[in-house]
């Protein structure tokens, strides 16, 4: 998997350099696909000014205020608040939302983006309506995870893990051990855990996603 997928819509100086670098040598490193997107998002952010979204929106205001009470510092509420923010923003955190959260917690937006791009569950690019995770680590791998990944990609019409299909229906990700080893191979669709998954059952589950 290329860390900067060829054809990714990078802007500015990063595009020229990245395009040259990743271009002709074929498959580069084995970085997790979403890490590449995180990097690309990081370089895009510097090229145009961002207007912060007013945060928190009414639907999560009470929860956010309650969360702040739990910690001695505002910064410590960042992870649970980012989960909330992401959930209420169609599954991803835009630069404007990132700036809004940063302002709310009195931390720098660079800090927030550093956190967003560190954790696998946060997304800084738009995601599909349905998030499909396939666990790829040893136990699930031993019990057929690779076939599930292939099925998921084919069903979604995506060629690389970490990607989203053109219609915005699915994002397919490979995740590291989900802790469902006794029901391997495991998958997760829209927060719903599935064990003993087969290519057939995964296909049917994905067919059922609008």
């Amino acid at each position: 998997m290329s860390p900067i997928p060829p054809g990714a819509q990078l802007k500015g100086a990063a595009a020229a350099a990245a395009g040259q670098a990743a271009g002709t040598l074929g498959v580069a490193t084995g970085a997790v696909g979403s890490a590449a997107a995180r990097v690309a998002a990081g370089t895009q952010a510097a090229t145009k000014p961002v207007v912060p979204i007013a945060f928190p929106p009414p639907e999560v205001k009470a929860d956010c205020e309650e969360l702040l009470k739990r910690y001695p510092t505002k910064m410590a509420a960042l992870l649970p608040i980012l989960h909330l923010a992401q959930k209420h923003n169609a599954g991803w955190v835009s630069p404007a939302l990132e700036a809004g959260v940063a302002a709310y917690l009195g931390v720098s937006d660079a800090h927030v983006r550093g956190v967003l791009t560190f954790y696998a569950m946060f997304h800084t690019q738009p995601v599909g309506r349905h998030d499909v995770w396939v666990c790829r680590t040893l136990t699930c791998w031993l019990r057929g995870a690779e076939a599930l990944t292939k099925t998921a990609l084919a069903k979604a019409g995506i060629d690389k893990v970490g990607g989203t299909d053109a219609q915005g229906r699915f994002s397919v990700r490979e995740m590291e051990c989900l802790g469902l080893c006794e029901v391997a191979p495991a998958a997760w669709i829209d927060g719903q855990v599935h064990g003993h998954v087969t290519p057939d059952s995964l296909g049917r589950l994905m067919d059922g996603c609008a």
Binding site: L25, G26, T29, G30, A31, V32, A35, R70, Y71, P72, T73, K74, M75, A76, A77, L78, L79, P80, L82, H83, L105, V107, H111, G114, V115, F118, Y119, A120, M121, F122, R136, T137, L138, T139, W141, L142, R143, M175, E176, C177, L178, G179, L180, C181, E182, V183, A184, W188, G191, V193
Partner: protein, 445 residues
């Protein structure tokens, strides 16, 4: 080839007593079954020091993988401090092959909470954070539900059970990073930052969460504490494997442990035993042994971060020291089984990729080394490897292990080094193969 073991050793249900009981995660059900009696006993009849003393007597060892004596760790927290003291329950369970804590949190969250409260009472903490990995939504929901119930019943909050002990409890979600299971990586994440482990010293007991004294223990470790308080540390210490009398510094492996088996076996799952059951009985007797027509090739006894054992080596007892002596380690005691259809080179790619992806990126040897290892394995898998590559792997193991801020790098090296050592012929055979066509294109290294 030894004959598979049958289920001779019965389970000892201490932690798993309520598993399978309907609505076992509700206060109503577990209170009737004895939940919070230990807390009441401690608050009404014991001093904090006495609680710690019982845990010391129990010789309870950390259940997260490191096996450090819990009572000793509790003793590191300063008795008095001008700062708020914290208990952080490590429920980040991201070690591959490991799912035991998930059962505890989903099926008996009150047990976990009671263990945390007892620990808080013992060390003088007034806030508990249970750090649960973000990929465990049900665990989070059940723990939060348990906390709400407990708060309403006066078991969490001000003046618990009418005593002078006040303690708050919250669930803090992770967001997908194995490194946050490392103590100080967890503290950084708790504080709202990237999960970069800290250099120790200072240790969390003195300077942990929010620069304050903090006790961090694994979920399973804390879940043992109510039983220890109720029945006494001595009773706990009688279970499991006693310390080697010839070694004055030995601690043994006391009490029970949740042990799991996963991989291509007939009946993967988790059970609870006193230490001492053999790995063979665990895998063959309870895990059901290999799938029909297959044989076991290699086992990692606890998680993924330990050296592998071959089928011939499975008669070792499940215990911290026993597995260490056998050249491996107990880890989380959740075994991953690899059978004869498993390609060990490809397995190494999978293992190396895991550690490479989960590396936080701070330290040069881990950040650069883990990915390099993966690339070398991929090259060998593609038939482009040379004998020099095998020497290179061995050399890199040496440059990665013991050279970093935290043990993730060590954890990567241990299984990989043992696989190369014990399955070297498989690697060498791969070296002889000519360049393979992959998807119609020659693979360039």
């Amino acid at each position: 080839m030894t004959t598979p073991a049958t289920r001779r050793t019965p389970e000892t249900k201490v932690l798993s007593l309520n598993f399978g009981v309907p609505d076992s995660w509700t206060l109503k059900v577990v209170r009737e079954r004895g939940a919070y009696q230990a807390l009441e006993k401690a608050l009404k009849t014991m001093t904090p020091e006495q609680v710690t003393a019982e845990v010391k007597t129990s010789r309870l060892r950390g259940r997260g993988g490191a096996g450090f004596p819990a009572g000793v760790k509790w003793g590191f927290v300063p008795k008095s401090s001008p700062k708020t003291k914290y208990v952080v329950c490590n429920a980040d369970e991201s070690e591959p092959g490991t799912f035991k804590d998930r059962y505890l949190m989903e099926l008996d969250p009150h047990l976990v909470l009671e263990g945390c409260l007892l620990a808080a009472y013992a060390v003088g903490a007034s806030v508990i954070y249970i750090y649960v990995r973000g990929e465990y939504p049900l665990s989070i929901a059940r723990l939060e539900g348990a906390m709400a119930e407990a708060r309403a019943a006066g078991l969490v909050g001000a003046n618990i059970l009418g005593s002078s002990f006040s303690c708050e409890a919250w669930v803090h979600p992770g967001a997908g990073a194995y490194i946050c299971g490392e103590e100080t990586g967890m503290l950084e994440s708790l504080e709202g930052k990237r999960g970069h482990p800290r250099i120790k010293p200072p240790f969390p007991a003195v300077e942990g969460a929010f620069a304050s004294p903090t006790l961090i223990n694994n979920v399973e470790t804390l879940a043992h504490v109510p039983w220890i308080v109720t029945n006494g540390g001595a009773a706990f210490a009688k279970q499991g494997i006693p310390p080697d009398p010839a070694n004055p510094r030995a601690v043994g492996s006391s009490g029970t442990k949740l042990m799991g088996v996963s991989g291509p076996v007939r009946t993967p799952g988790v059970w609870e035993f006193e230490f001492g059951i053999t790995l063979r009985e665990l895998i063959y007797g309870y895990g059901g042994g290999p799938l029909p027509g297959r044989t076991i090739k290699a086992v990692i006894p606890g998680g993924i971060s330990m050296p592998v054992l071959t089928d011939a080596e499975l008669d070792v007892k499940m215990g911290f020291d026993e597995l260490a002596k056998a050249g491996s380690g107990l880890g989380t005691a959740c075994a991953i089984v690899m059978d004869d259809t498993c390609d060990m080179v490809k397995a190494c790619i999978n293992i190396a990729h895991f550690f490479a992806d989960e590396s936080c990126g701070q330290c040069t040897p881990c950040r650069e080394g883990c990915h390099w290892l993966e690339k070398i394995y991929k090259r060998i898998d593609a038939g482009q490897g040379t004998l020099a590559d095998l020497d290179l792997l061995a050399s890199l193991f040496g440059n990665i292990e013991g050279r970093t801020i935290c043990a993730l790098a060590d954890a990567a090296v241990w299984p990989l080094r043992s696989i190369l050592k014990k399955f070297r012929p498989e690697f060498e055979a791969r070296l002889a193969r000519p360049v393979t066509a992959v998807a119609g294109q020659a693979v360039m290294s």
